[in-house]
């Protein structure tokens, strides 16, 4: 301990103190401050780059999800439109069919009615004609009967032949 104390040099202590203070001040100004600042800036830069990369990744994912959603929606919409179209088509066809049917039915009914009335009038004509003819024949038969029996038969025969020709 005595040698230690004896070896302790106050002058050296003093010089060391001065050198250390000056060194700390100089190093702080010319070395540590710029170095630490530069390191800080660099590390911040790296951190920022990493963060933005992460953000970009997230955004990308979001975008992809959005795209998928849009695609899905579009597909669903297309599906719906197609379905609607098909339905519309079917409905139109059905409607057209029904209308055509209805029209045909009315036309058929009209035609039938016309045919019926034509038939009736034709029947009526025929009846009249047959009645007239019958009367005529009967008249001629009656006239001939009075003269000759053979002649009467002959007359009926010819009359009938006439009627056939007619």
């Amino acid at each position: 301990m005595e040698t230690l104390l004896n070896d302790f040099s106050v002058g050296l202590f003093f010089m060391q103190g001065i050198i250390l203070i000056i060194l700390i001040l100089l190093m702080r100004k010319f070395a540590w401050k710029p170095i630490l600042d530069a390191l800080q800036t660099r590390e911040d830069g790296i951190q920022n780059a990493l963060d933005s990369a992460e953000n970009a990744k997230l955004e990308m994912q979001n975008l992809q999800a959005d795209n998928e959603k849009l695609l899905k929606e579009a597909r669903a919409e297309r599906e719906a439109m197609l379905k609607e179209g098909r339905e519309l088509k079917n409905k139109m066809i059905d409607d057209a069919k029904a209308e055509a049917q209805a029209q045909a039915n009315t036309m058929i009914a009209q035609a039938q009615a016309a045919i019926e009335s034509e038939k009736k009038s034709a029947m009526a004509d025929l009846k009249n004609h047959v009645a007239g003819l019958s009367i005529e024949i009967a008249e001629k038969v009656v006239r001939q009967e009075l003269a000759n029996k053979d002649k009467q038969l002959e007359l009926v025969e010819s009359m009938l032949g006439d009627a056939k020709l007619n």
């Binding site: 230690l4 070896d7 302790f8 040099s9 106050v10 002058g11 050296l12 202590f13 003093f14 010089m15 060391q16 103190g17 050198i19 250390l20 000056i22 060194l23 700390i24 100089l26 190093m27 702080r28 010319f30 070395a31 540590w32 401050k33 710029p34 170095i35 630490l36 600042d37 530069a38 390191l39 660099r42 830069g45």
Partner: protein, 369 residues
């Protein structure tokens, strides 16, 4: 660019020359006489562990010539400030050469400069070889340790300002020496300062912590070179570093810290004054003292062991022969030197770590329960 290359070349040249010439000093010679006996080796190691006033490489024993360069001596004597080069002592360390500056008569004795009392012309010693008619002066010399610190400071300024300039030029990734320095700076910030002081407050103390870390580390490494520096093994240096830490954490102590130190909540009233004394002594004396002694003792012990192992080649020469003893000393010294490289880092790390731990304790804000 050319200037930079030139500087590198000079630096390498100087380092190479120093290491070659200084090996002789570490192993063999004491100024003026050869080191052969155990006693001489002990003296030699003791001499090396001390600070010195000149930068000594080796001595040529045949001619008695010293290869060294002098460093300036700056002393505050009773007769005012005296400055001269240490070559004025002619490598004397035993109080024989008296340097007269004005009225002051100065001698160098065991690496300390003494001023002779009025009227005395030679140093008189008592039985313990302490001078009786001379006293120490305040010595602000650029000693070998101060020189080492200045060199370290210069290296740090050059290296780290180069790194800082690199960033300013817009390189996000450093080039050259910065590639080695940047991870170290990040290491100190992320593994020493942040975990101990906290994310919010660490920034304020980074200047001190980084400076101290690299200062101690480079000085420790310089001590491992054959240049013969032993700066972090000077108790004045470690004391100064420890006091810096203490001053910083005592002055940045939060209100919570002082409250917990001086009037600990949650313990019985009667214990509080006792705890306050214990805590105060702990923070003001014990913690700085442990810091200063740890660094000093580790580095001194390292130097002591390495030098003792190198000296094995002399002490074991008689029992094992020159070749075996030299081989043994080489292998062992190499082994310990490798460990010392680790210790050099470890001690710098521990000092910075504990400093930031103490600062962390002082600035911590407690959440009150």
């Amino acid at each position: 660019m050319l200037a930079k290359k030139y500087f590198n070349f000079i630096a390498i040249l100087v380092l190479t020359l120093f290491s070659f010439s200084a090996y002789g000093e570490e192993t063999k010679q004491e100024p003026g006489n050869t080191v052969n006996t155990a006693q001489e080796i002990k003296e030699y190691i003791k001499h090396h562990l001390k600070d010195s006033h000149d930068f000594h490489f080796y001595t040529n024993n045949e001619t008695g010539e010293h290869r060294s360069f002098p460093l300036p001596v700056i002393v505050w004597t009773k007769d005012g400030l005296k400055t001269f080069m240490s070559s004025a002592f002619h490598h004397d360390d035993n109080g024989q050469v008296i340097v007269e500056k004005g009225n002051a008569r100065l001698v160098k004795l065991h690496s300390k400069i003494y001023q002779l009392d009025q009227g005395a012309t030679t140093v008189a010693f008592d039985d313990d070889h302490h001078p009786t008619n001379a006293h120490k002066v305040l010595d602000f010399s650029i000693t070998k340790s101060v020189f080492g610190m200045l060199l370290t400071g210069l290296l740090m300024l050059l290296g780290f300002s180069a790194l800082a300039r690199g960033y300013k030029k817009g390189h996000t990734v450093p080039k050259g020496v910065g590639r080695i320095l940047e991870p170290l700076v990040i290491y100190v910030r992320d593994d020493i300062a942040k975990p101990n002081i906290g994310e919010k407050k660490y920034r304020k103390f980074m200047g001190f912590l980084l400076t101290v870390f690299f200062f101690i580390w480079i000085l420790n490494l310089l001590g491992l070179t054959p240049l013969g520096f032993n700066v972090t093994g000077q108790i004045a240096v470690t004391a100064c570093l420890a006091i810096f830490t203490a001053v910083i954490y005592l002055f940045s102590g939060s209100k919570d810290f002082w409250k917990h130190t001086l009037w600990m909540p949650g313990v019985p009233m009667i214990l509080r004054p006792i705890l306050a004394v214990i805590e105060l002594v702990g923070f003001v004396l014990i913690k700085p003292f442990s810091l200063l002694v740890r660094l000093f003792a580790n580095m001194t012990a390292g130097h002591f062991v390495v030098m003792s192992l190198i000296a094995l080649m002399i002490t074991m020469k008689e029992s094992f022969g020159a070749v075996t003893s030299t081989g043994m000393s080489l292998v062992l010294a190499l082994f310990i030197s490798v460990i010392e490289i680790l210790v050099a880092f470890l001690q710098a790390f521990i000092f910075t770590m504990l400093s930031s731990l103490f600062i962390g304790m002082a600035v911590e804000e407690h959440d009150h329960h």
